[in-house]
Amino acid sequence: MTYIAKPKISHPGMPRNSLGLTVRDYEGAVSTLCAGCGHDSVTAAIIQAVFQLNIEPHMLAKMSGIGCSSKTPAYFVSQSHGFNSVHGRMPSVTTGANAANRKLTYIGVSGDGDSLSIGAGQFVHAIRRNLNMCYIIENNGVYGLTKGQFSASADIGTKPKKGLPNQQEPIDPVSTAIALGATYIARSFSGDKDQLIPLIQGALLHDGFALVDVISPCVTFNDHEGSTKSYAHTREFYHHVVEADYIPPAEEIKAQYDEGSAMSIELHDGSKIVLRKIESEYDPTSRAAAFKYLRERFNAGEITTGLLYFDDSRKEMHDLMGNIETPLSEYPLDKLQPGNAELKKILSRYR
């Protein structure tokens, strides 16, 4: 129950970010998810990511639809406005919110049911617009709140707790996003915070649509033997391809990278994401190559993770339209209409 206030325990020695805030200031209400739920780990990663990026809480907007994943915005950054919308419709609400105020940082938390079934249309079109947002899918292959039905991301042959294995082709959000031309596409695992946090940070700072698909096991309905979205299965077949390191603005890249294995991406605030290629032949800037590689590894039963595709050449929604930098919601209303004298001139067309 999100109305249970979370006790704030703060130590004087806790690290503070450049705003003077501690990680406690980025927490939310007590989670009502099952103990051990992958989503709670994602929540913790989001808290760390936002804290480390020094984002002012009120400049963050938390968006979601319906489902276990969509409840989580209540569990992080309680000093941010949240919009828990209707099922599968988070992308449209975020599109409108961003249209009104492009200065906020938008983080949308969705699930495989919310994004790949009921909300598939909206997910697809947010990508098409290159909406500037961080879009996290907490992907567990099942519907939890309605007690364990398969979702559209369930793999062929994966077994439910009760009933027959899934026979339908899964919808993979990552390859879908590559096909659609999303400009930042990552996959990670709720159990790998070291990989997940910088991927979320890059997604928050990316100027355009950033997808982070997180395999986030459902401990209650999909963590058993025979499930391809369990903790055990994910750990076993988890395959790092490209790691991402987040380097804050004005900070030097200190780590030593092997020749040809690293590439640095400059973000709009001066920070950098350094990609470390574990697979040296992998090219995260080629849609065709990324798609081919992903399908091959998928067919081999592997879960490919990391920052899998990146393109900073495409403009985000507002810039595609040529919209003003000032948030439209802050533009003075009296400057938005030309007055009665001009109205008379307009009317002359209709005589």
């Binding site: 209540a74 941010s80 419709r89 009104a100 439209l328 919601s329 938005l336 005589r351």
Partner: protein, 600 residues
């Protein structure tokens, strides 16, 4: 059939042949002569090839509705010739293209048929298939001008204005006008006994459609985010908004746009975008029609419960289902009033012509911000897509838009704690904050059960507290929505009540009834919830004829539900064949019911 400035011209053509501009030219010429006109377009749900008609009613009395008769038929479409001929009033005139012969069987003894070889003349005088087709339309305008005595100088001036940037088209169009005009004067006795004469009744008026007016109203209201999915007959509303914005919404310093129009993937997304934008403090809207409302219903219920402003223009068309997309109706009254599951109800506005589309567009942005709830403007195809003569629009330069109860960062800073859904002022309207202002103002917007403080709840009392407060807000809405227009005399025991585009025909019907010594009072409701004055109007009469354009008496039902009106008093007059309402129908039906009442 002799008359002056009281004639109905109907032109039957083929869709996609460019007759719209010719018909517009004809209507505007008469308007420029100072004579009131009504234009109605009857077009198919088709791009090219099906029959289409345009009706111009010349009415010296300045009535707004269509007439149920045709005096002069211009039958350009061989496919519909028989039907067009049959529709003509006895004593009327029919013009047809005599390039090809018509069967004698189709002749009527009681009308005069005038053949003009329009195609032949245009083929001889113009080059190219497209030009010949277009000029044939202009040529019938010339013929009608001669027959009705429309001023040629006025037509010339209009062509000069229209083609100011393409002067060579002025000459060719004038040539086509003269072809028709000269043929008519040389071969027939012109003008006909039924003709037009200059008057002075159109000064201070314009001819405009409701969608253009609403789009202009949205621009003046300061709308910045428009999201939509194309649907007939609402599409031209966003087209108009876009067109006005492209001129008046460019930031002087940066040269960039101060508006954001998003063509959504469907209506579900369109309303989602509107809610996201209004949550963030922008004035946002979506134009749609009935099927779009069905799709938006879930989100409309969300907005009602989470208390988000939203502006929806529903340009109603003929239902149910896909229905007749290019015909008009007022059949979404109930589906809009109660859109969505659970206990929801929505504020509706009923503009009765394009002038009110302009003014109500402004109300439509103030009310949702004041009430923190969606407001739907129920226009229809008749208002939205037809050309109406209405008084010039006025914008009050001193108008201060009502942005409602929004706390600033300073307000929040000075508060001990902010709670989203507390009824501080006792009017049922809580205070809200906008994202990006202050961390203390943050709250979680949700459609799930919540307390008056904004937190999640499954507690019965806490839940009920909020939904009961929404009822109080509903009563506040009742007190601030636009008042009805009422014509009242205490001597009349019967009244007529209508909304929206039924208004014009009702007002004309009142005149007709008066001429028969049957005086009735009149109420045109402008909004739901109904103001107390609507309730009083019903109470003051023995019988109320509720005139509306749907089969199921939706307005009457709403009056019963919201005003607790006595059903026995409310007698329905229902018109729902998809055509615009006319006064003759209203008079006939009211008299039928009235005589029953007197016999009883």
């Amino acid at each position: 059939m002799a008359s002056v400035n009281d004639v109905v011209i109907k032109i039957g053509t083929v869709n996609g042949t460019g007759s719209a501009s010719a018909n517009g030219l004809l209507m505007k010429s008469i308007f420029r002569m100072g004579i009131p006109v009504v234009g109605k377009n009857y077009f198919p749900s088709n791009i090219q090839g099906l029959p289409t008609w345009y009706e111009i009613r010349v009415t010296s009395d300045g009535y707004q509705a269509r007439s149920n008769r045709v005096d002069l038929m211009v039958a350009m479409n061989a496919q519909t010739y028989a039907r067009d001929l049959a529709e003509l009033e006895p004593g009327g005139w029919l013009v047809y293209d005599s390039t090809w012969p018509r069967s004698k069987l189709l002749d009527r003894d009681d009308v005069t048929v005038l053949g003009i070889p329009l195609s032949k003349m245009c083929n001889e005088n113009f080059d190219g298939a497209r030009a010949r087709i277009l000029m044939k339309n202009i040529a019938y305008v010339g013929a009608v001008a001669a027959l009705l005595d429309i001023d040629l100088t006025t037509i010339t001036t209009l062509l000069e204005e229209t083609f100011a940037s393409k002067p060579h088209l002025i000459d060719s169009n004038m040539k086509a006008i003269r072809l028709g005009y000269d043929y008519a004067t040389e071969n027939f006795v012109c003008p006909l006994p039924m003709k037009v004469e200059p008057m002075d009744r159109t000064k201070g008026h314009i001819i405009v459609d409701g969608n253009t007016a609403a789009g202009l109203g949205c621009m003046y209201a300061g709308a910045t985010v428009g999201a939509w999915y194309p649907i007939t007959p609402s599409t031209s509303l966003m087209d108009a908004f876009r067109s006005f914005c492209s001129k008046y919404r460019v930031d002087e310093e940066s040269g960039k746009r101060t508006y954001c129009i998003i063509q959504a993937e469907d209506e579900l997304a369109a309303i989602g975008m509107v809610l996201g934008a209004s949550w963030n403090g922008a004035r946002s809207f979506t134009p749609t029609s009935g099927p779009g409302i069905s799709l938006m219903s879930e989100f409309l219920g969300y907005a009602y419960y989470a208390e988000l402003p939203a502006v929806v223009f529903n340009v109603q068309r003929t239902g149910p289902s896909t229905g007749m997309p290019t015909r008009t109706q007022q059949a979404d009254i109930l589906s809009c009033a109660y859109a969505s599951h659970g206990d929801t109800k929505h504020v509706l506005l009923f503009p009765c012509d394009p002038a009110e589309c302009f003014t109500m567009a402004q109300d439509a942005f103030d009310l949702p911000e004041r009430l923190q709830t969606p407001v739907m403007v129920l226009s229809d195809l008749d208002i939205g897509m037809n050309d109406w003569m209405v008084p010039d629009f006025e914008y009050d330069d001193g108008r201060v838009p009502d942005r409602g109860k929004v706390l600033s960062a300073d307000d929040v800073e000075n508060m001990e704690k902010f709670y989203r859904y507390l009824d501080v002022d006792g009017d049922g309207i809580p205070y809200r904050t906008l994202p990006g202002q202050h961390p203390k103002g943050s709250f979680f917007t949700r459609g799930s059960g919540h307390t008056k403080y904004g937190g999640y709840t499954e507690d019965s009392d806490e839940y009920q507290d909020v939904v009961d407060r929404l009822l109080l807000k509903w009563e506040t809405a009742r007190s601030i929505v636009p008042e009805p227009e009422i014509q009242y005399s205490k001597f009349n025991k019967a009244g007529i009540l209508s909304v929206g585009s039924s208004d014009g025909a009702c007002k004309e019907a009142l005149d007709w009834l008066n001429a028969q010594n049957i005086a009735m009072n009149y109420c045109c409701a402008k909004a739901f919830p109904f103001s107390d004055s609507v309730r009083e109007f019903i109470e003051q009469h023995d019988v109320i004829y509720v005139v509306e354009q749907n089969r199921d008496a939706q307005l009457r039902t709403l009056l019963m539900l919201d005003c607790d009106a006595d059903p026995k008093k409310l007698v329905s007059v229902l018109h729902y064949n998809g055509m615009s309402l006319n006064a003759e129908f209203v008079v006939k039906r009211v008299l039928e019911e009235h005589s029953k009442g007197q016999a009883a």
